[in-house]
Amino acid sequence: MLDPEELREIKEKSGRWEETTLKSYLETRPERKPEFTTTSGFQVSRLYTPADVSDLDYSEDLGYPGQFPYTRGIHPTMYRGRLWTMREFSGFGTAEETNRRFKYLLSEGETGLSVAFDYPTITGYDSDHPFAQGEVGRCGVAVSSLADMETLFAGIPLDKVSTSMTINGPAAMLLAMYIAVGQKQGMAPELLSGTTQNDMLKEFFAQKLCIFPPKPSVKLVVDIIEHCAKKLPKWNPISISGYHIREAGANAVQELAFTLADGLAYVQATVDRGLDVDEFAPRLSFFFAAHNDLFEEVAKFRAARRIWAQFMKERFKARNARSMWMRMHVQTSGCTLTAQQPVNNTIRVAIQGLAAVLGGTQSLHTNSFDEALALPSEEAVRIALRTQQIIAHESGVSNTVDPLGGSFYLEALTREMEEKALKYIDQIEAMGGIFQAIEKGFLQKEIVNSAYRYQQDVDKKERIIVGLNEYAGNETSKIPLLRIDPQLEEFQLRKLRRLKESRNQDLVTRTLEKLRQASEKDNNVMPHILDSVKAYCTLGEICGVLREVYGQYEELVMF
């Protein structure tokens, strides 16, 4: 960015500063530590100057928002035009209860819905399965059939909200139910907007909610991408997720690299299906975590956009600019929250939310301060939403595009993040790709190593967590927590029993049989899943058919 003469002068002056001002200062006032590092372990210099970013080409590496390589943002005006979508992930108990929470959040200014399903639902079991005992409605809402989905969205016009669903193994079934609810409300599928997470690859090494083995799992992912490309133009069929990779223990660069590697695999698989890249790539979306190391996080988001745009343009020959856009949702980090002194978490969430916005996210979920203890209470989730609103309306950071762009530190960090992520991607590809990396346990091992290192740093106080290993005091603040009524499970079971008694059993058997035949023939199963959910086949029944055809995933156990 500088001419050689200017650069030489800066280097010379920096050297002089070190020899004079700095040296004499350090003689009497040494620094707190021999070295400073980011959360991911990058060395941080004392001072960054233009010399640290001298190899940066402004037009090529940063450019302009809304233009390749989108480092500074995917839209020309970013938040001056439209603020990010404020979306609070929620779901607990029964569909009735969660429907009330949705309406509450919308009335408080939330601009998009985000559904958390319970464990039985996300692992493809009905509420009455033996595995579901004690789990129904605990970590999300229980949805066993279209009947539950109808209740979940009762009174919420689906053409007026966008809905994000955190669902992977059974993504096809839940999306089919959403389409069916829309049709019952009189809305054609092309009017529906929202996202299904539908990112199975990261399940095998990070979130680990798997039903089928990797190959058929990715086949289903591509079925959904293909179906949406043809029938649901406003739907994001997939949210390629780093969040769970990070929560499982990865550092920022691993999160970035493994997510991008997953993304590349999905694009390749969909191209291999015969779709043109520009037919589906504009609707791919991403999901990252935001942690406390503000600059490192902002660097990660910016590097992510730059790398993705380059891959899409160069490797996949995308022509449509939208195919090169990395649109992202960000969630603040659950694993950085402490059960001790929980109110401190509001501050962590604010810093993380700020990082997401400074990083140019399209959508944000801010965690509630009580999440190390329970699912969020109504008060806690309101404060989380207010945190976003304060960032949006009071902090001033939304007034200009990429406000930290040009910071010598940030640009150097963005470059380092990019280089290290690309190195990881090369390593994965050298192994033969993401499937092989999963099979070998490479990604799992990398993550568990990082998680263990992090814990050791905390245990040894090499990493200070306020209120946990320092400033712990003996604060015993009690906060009111959300309680899940154990009777809800009974209520849900009764509802499911009634459904099974009242539906057309012949139709159930017939649609499931057709689904079986389609899945055996390797056809796109989406139309058959849609027919099955409309016949009120349950989630467990549909997944059961596919389990028989595709087999079940066996975890690669390691620690």
Binding site: Y119, P120, T123, Y125, F131, A132, Q133, G134, E135, R138, C139, Q207, K208, L209, E247, A248, G249, C335, T338, A339, Q340, A372, L373, A374, V448, A451, Y452, Q455, Q456, V458, D459, I465, L468, N469, L481, I484, P486, E555, V557, M558, F559
Partner: protein
């Protein structure tokens, strides 16, 4: 040969503490379980990790098969009041009364005393240093080796 010669002939091979780290139910949060498993292993114990989605029957069976001194249960899904009592009952049924049982995860305070009454010796919540868990296991084994 050298390694053998360095051993004093009278040295008794001490049995290592055997630990089973288990994830009951559908919960897939395994970060804590894996960190604890590794910390126990680094502290010199023999550690077996069950992997995810284990039924109470599978866990108790593994505890028996592996002849463990301590069973470490990890759960963050909220299903502990359903799954833990079953594990404890099955252990009693199988005569595993001398196995120390501890648990970790997201477990609300009001459930802790109930779980302790049932026979879970200690509950380690989020933020527990691994050293605390390791020391607890060493000092509270029911079996004397």
């Amino acid at each position: 040969m050298i390694a053998t010669s360095l051993k004093t002939p009278s040295a008794r091979v001490e049995r290592k503490i055997r630990a089973l780290v288990a994830k009951p139910g559908l919960d897939s949060h395994d970060r804590g379980a894996k960190v604890v498993a590794r910390a126990l292993r680094d502290a010199g114990m023999e550690v077996v990790y069950t992997g995810l989605r284990q039924t109470p029957e599978q866990i108790v069976e593994a505890a028996m098969q592996e002849d463990v001194d301590v069973l470490c249960l990890s759960i963050l899904s909220g299903a502990h009041m359903t799954l833990f009592p079953r594990i404890i009952d099955l252990m009693k049924e199988k005569g595993l009364d001398d196995v120390l049982v501890i648990a970790g995860g997201v477990i609300p305070e009001e459930d802790i005393s109930k779980l302790k009454d049932m026979g879970i010796a200690e509950i380690f919540g989020p933020g527990t240093p691994t050293r605390v868990t390791v020391d607890y296991v060493r000092n509270n084994l029911k079996r004397k080796s």
